[in-house]
């Protein structure tokens, strides 16, 4: 294993104390209300807290908190593109970088970007790109950075929402906001906006219809820009899941709109009436 010479090094191996817990963790109930009190099989997303324009150095930034999931996004640009190939001349380039802070998950992550981070960055890119008017920014690039401070489930969905809010805060021209929502199917029942524990546990015995689904949705155009699903689900469950996600997106839409309106009002206060 190559050693990382650019960071202060610790011991070669260390193990998370979670591996040595004497009492095994209690399995999550497969029916009845969820651990955070939300009902099952209903479109009940966690209340979100959003704020724009927190980072002084960035063109636009946003922070989102849903339950214990905490994310932050910054947008830099448009600035001159670094890569100068043919395609960049006609329309702008959107780059996304999504990272997890080492302390964001129950088990400590590495500083080095893993394949999971890269996958998520790519999915974020694909969900956002259709919403941004890139043809208005020829020869330039727009950088979106997302940092997960605490991972308590549905990270990609909230990252999409947060990044689109940061893009809007940066004044980048867009067709629409992009909202994200996730669903976890567990046998015949499903949970909306799952927590980290719900995402990583499988409580029902049946192996059918186990999976997760994340949808990125443009609310005013009523279009889907990103869809990511894993696990095994029947066609009907999947379409029902997509519909549930869209419903979930509409639930957080007014909160996002309000946060954006507040940020705009602060940036350009309406003329006083005197």
């Amino acid at each position: 294993m190559p050693t990382d010479t650019k960071r202060v090094r610790g011991p070669e191996v260390s193990q998370s104390p979670l591996l040595f817990v004497s009492k095994p963790a209690t399995a999550l109930p497969s029916h009845g209300p969820r651990t955070d009190g939300r009902p099952r099989d209903q479109v009940d997303v966690r209340p979100v807290f959003v704020r724009c324009g927190l980072v002084s150095q960035a063109k636009g930034s946003a922070y989102i908190e849903a339950g214990n999931t905490k994310l932050m996004s910054c947008v830099y640009g448009p600035r001159e593109t670094e890569r100068k190939d043919e395609t960049d001349m006609k329309c702008g380039r959107l780059t996304t970088d999504m990272r997890f802070a080492p302390f964001s998950c129950p088990e400590r992550g590495s500083w080095i970007q893993g394949s999971q981070d890269k996958d998520l960055s790519l999915m974020l890119h694909e969900s956002l790109q259709p919403a941004v008017c890139l043809h208005k920014y020829p020869r330039s690039q727009i950088e979106v950075n997302v940092m997960v401070l605490e991972n308590s489930g549905s990270v990609l969905a909230h990252a999409v929402t947060c990044a689109s809010l940061a893009l809007a805060d940066a004044g980048i021209e867009m067709y629409d906001l992009v909202l994200g929502c996730a669903v976890r199917q567990d046998g015949s029942s499903y949970v909306v906006d799952p927590t980290y524990k719900e995402e990583n546990s499988c409580s029902s015995a049946s192996s059918e219809n186990q999976g997760g689904l994340t949808v990125a949705f443009l609310p005013s155009l009523n279009q889907i820009s990103g869809l990511q699903s894993d696990g095994e689900m029947t066609e009907e469950t999947l379409t029902a899941g997509v519909r549930t996600c869209i419903e979930g997106c509409y639930k957080i839409y007014p909160v996002i709109q309000q946060a954006l309106a507040k940020a705009v009002r602060r940036a350009a206060p309406p003329p006083s009436e005197s």
Binding site: T3, T5, K6, R7, V8, R9
Partner: protein, 220 residues
């Protein structure tokens, strides 16, 4: 080319220095303090990468190579200290949009390494003929457990000490250019160490002068 720097109050180990010992770099020097030995090479002024170009002065890069293995975070912090000290004394605005590279190779570490880096860097910059506003030298002081101040400690003395400080002193006003410390100490001890370092610096500058004089007396 060895000479002894010994005195009653400020004692330094035996110093040695040789300039222009490498043929490829534009300036080079080896500096020996007791058993600690560093080899320095300077390249430049040369063309600079566009991304690193500074429009009104030269870009200085310092690379520290440890005796074994790859440079780590500690070397990076030493690089930063040496670079910013050199930047303060070099008249880099005379070479805008060019690059200067200083490479410091550790040959043997027996304490006071950072001060040896600084001394080797100064001699190498001098050898490269780069314009400087002043010379600088490095002095390491160790505070022993009983409060005694030791200048230019060996590795064993460093280990026993409860605090370690390295200063870069300039040649014109004998003020502190750089300071890097380890361990905890009182304000009074800091002031004492600075005073001792300033005294020691006079000796080192005298050594610089002697060694350069000797070198040119041979070539002329």
């Amino acid at each position: 080319m060895m000479e002894v720097c010994g005195s009653s109050n400020v004692s330094l180990r035996e110093f040695g220095c040789e300039q222009s010992l490498l043929s490829r770099p534009d300036g080079s020097a080896s500096f020996i303090q007791g058993d600690t030995s560093v080899l320095a090479g300077v390249y430049g002024p040369a063309e600079v990468k566009v991304s690193k170009e500074i429009y009104d002065r030269a870009t200085l890069e310092v690379l520290v190579q440890p005796k074994v293995g790859l440079p780590s975070v500690r070397e990076r912090s030493q690089e930063q200290c040496v670079r910013e000290t050199c930047e303060a004394s070099l008249l880099s605005s005379l070479h805008p949009r060019s690059s200067l590279t200083l490479i410091l190779q550790v040959l043997h570490d027996d304490g006071s390494l950072l001060s040896c880096f600084l001394n080797a860097a100064c001699m190498a910059l001098m050898d490269a003929g780069l314009p400087m506003s002043c010379l600088f030298c490095g002095v390491t002081c160790a505070i022993h457990a009983d409060g005694q101040i030791i200048t230019d400690p060996t590795a064993a003395q460093e280990k026993e000490s409860r605090a370690l400080m390295t200063f870069a002193i300039d040649s014109t006003e004998h003020k502190v250019l750089m300071s890097s410390t380890k361990g905890s100490f009182s304000v009074h001890e800091l002031q004492q160490c600075i005073a001792v370092s300033q005294k020691a610096s006079e000796k080192i500058f005298q050594f610089y002068r002697d060694s350069v004089r000797r070198r040119y007396s041979k070539t002329l």
